[in-house]
């Protein structure tokens, strides 16, 4: 009687061990196969139309925001900058950070160029028409919205706080939320090099 559950216990242990001995633990969310490959048509900092193929072969970190953002955008871009600084220059050049502004009314290509310059040469600012931005945000199941203007004309923009990471082939691989730190981010990015 005492050992009648022996085989079941052994099976359970085997399953637990199998579950524990999987691939290296990631800090971000693994979105391989969940999200579609990188595809967009936007306007870059030089006011030219740009498509996903423009940076083919690099690991791309895509983040939606706006330059008037008081908190999430500068914090996230700062965190990405810190994460990338953990890589030696020859490895760092494999990364591109696509900062997609969902506030094209205020974020002109020129303003984007000035803004992204603060966060390193890997950061590329982009924006687009509402149709272009909506097509991209729908593709990655994110959204954005505009608050009411105050007396000085300032308005808030609600936007995604996630960083979508695409590998060199443009496949969606990782999603970082707001709680991830630079070290944890760098650890995950290294797996894509």
């Amino acid at each position: 009687m005492k050992y009648q559950h022996g085989p079941l216990a052994a099976l359970f242990c085997a399953l637990v061990l199998a579950a524990c001995s999987g691939p290296a633990e990631l800090n971000g969310h693994d979105i391989t196969g969940v999200m579609p490959a990188l595809q967009y048509e936007l306007i870059n900092e030089q006011d030219r139309t740009v498509e996903a193929g423009a940076h083919a072969g690099t690991i791309r970190l895509m983040f939606f925001g706006y330059t008037h953002c008081p908190d999430i955008c500068p914090i996230t871009l700062g965190r990405i900058k810190a994460a990338l600084s953990a890589f030696p220059p020859e490895e760092r050049s494999a990364f591109r950070v696509l900062f997609v502004s969902v506030d094209p009314q205020r974020d002109t290509p020129e303003r984007l160029r000035e803004y992204t310059a603060y966060f390193g040469e890997q950061v590329i600012g982009m924006t687009g028409s509402q149709a272009q931005l909506q097509a991209l945000s729908r593709r990655y199941r994110v959204t954005y919205g505009y608050g009411e203007k105050n007396e000085s004309g300032f308005y808030e923009v609600s936007h995604s706080g996630g960083v979508f990471v695409f590998d060199r082939e443009g496949r969606a691989r990782l999603l970082f939320n707001q709680s991830i730190g630079p070290q944890a981010m760098a650890h995950d990015l290294r797996t894509l090099l």
Partner: protein, 285 residues
């Protein structure tokens, strides 16, 4: 992404098989009403059509967009899909009207499916009172596990599995509750007393979950920050309203359903007293 004009009525993510099912059920029901032409069907028809329309609107209009990008709207969507919509559909007791409106070929298919052993036993299992109650509460908890919720909102496939499982379970649960036949008439027709017991058993876990969400100081569901909100609203306020929706109206449905069941019990008791052939089976509730 403000909709313009008719865009409000258009699906955010069209699910054509689902739209076809809704259209089919609506047509069959309207045909049934027309063929029966009984004024007594009208109150039931009002409940059925309201429930059906509610379930459709929260899944296949612009409402779905707001449900994907605001936690409290998502909670309202599930309140309609799992509670209010199926509640009204089951309350309308639509079997007779649907049977009158269904083409013979469809009836034949339904009879064949119903005769399958796997269907009969599966249905019997799902309508077992303890399982029905556990499934009803378990699904709410499952889809609100932060990690599960994250994946469900991020993946289009999981999102629809979540919504459709809530709708299907809602229909099963309220169908089980409002079965008008006398207890024992079928293997899944339980006494009114037992049904009320299940209704009250599912209430405290919903209250606990809703209260936990509403009163939490921290943001539990970060997927709305990751994906962005439909309009700028404090994440904690969004969560508090969502928690209240999970807490109060969801639990109130049990109270409302108890009143409906008490009415059914008294009708059955009266029928039994007057020896009506419809209620000859002993009422044990």
């Amino acid at each position: 992404m403000k909709p313009t004009g008719l865009e409000v009525l258009l699906p955010w993510e069209p699910l054509w098989p689902l739209i076809a099912v809704f259209a089919g059920v609506l047509l069959v029901y309207l045909r049934g009403l027309w063929r029966r032409r009984r004024p007594g069907d009208l109150p039931g028809a009002a409940a059925f059509l309201t429930g059906l329309a509610g379930m459709y609107v929260v899944m296949q209009t612009r409402f779905d967009y707001y449900a994907q990008y605001m936690f409290f709207v998502h909670r309202f969507q599930h309140l309609v899909l799992h509670h209010a919509g199926p509640f009204l559909v089951a309350l309308s007791m639509p079997s007779a009207v649907l049977a009158a409106g269904a083409p013979n070929a469809l009836k034949k298919v339904c009879r064949r499916v119903a005769a399958l052993a796997v269907f009969r036993w599966g249905y019997r299992l799902l309508q077992q009172p303890v399982i029905a109650g556990l499934l009803f509460v378990g699904l709410i908890y499952f889809w609100l596990l932060p990690a599960v919720h994250f994946d469900a909102m991020l993946s289009a496939r999981n999102y629809w599995i979540m919504n459709l499982s809530m709708a299907a379970d809602g229909l099963l649960f309220w169908w089980f509750m409002f079965d008008p036949r006398p207890p024992g008439a079928t293997p899944v027709t339980r006494s009114v007393g037992l049904r009320i017991l299940v209704l009250w058993a599912v209430m405290p876990p919903q209250i606990a979950l809703g209260a936990w969400i509403a009163l939490s100081d921290e943001v539990i569901f970060d997927v709305y920050a990751v994906c962005g909100r439909a309009w700028p609203l404090s994440p904690i306020v969004d969560q508090q309203i969502g928690g209240l929706i999970t807490w109060i109206p969801a639990a109130m449905m049990s109270v409302l359903a108890t009143l409906v069941l008490l009415r059914l019990y008294f009708r059955q008791a009266r029928g039994q007293a007057s020896g009506s052939p419809r209620t000859t089976t002993k009422v044990t509730g």
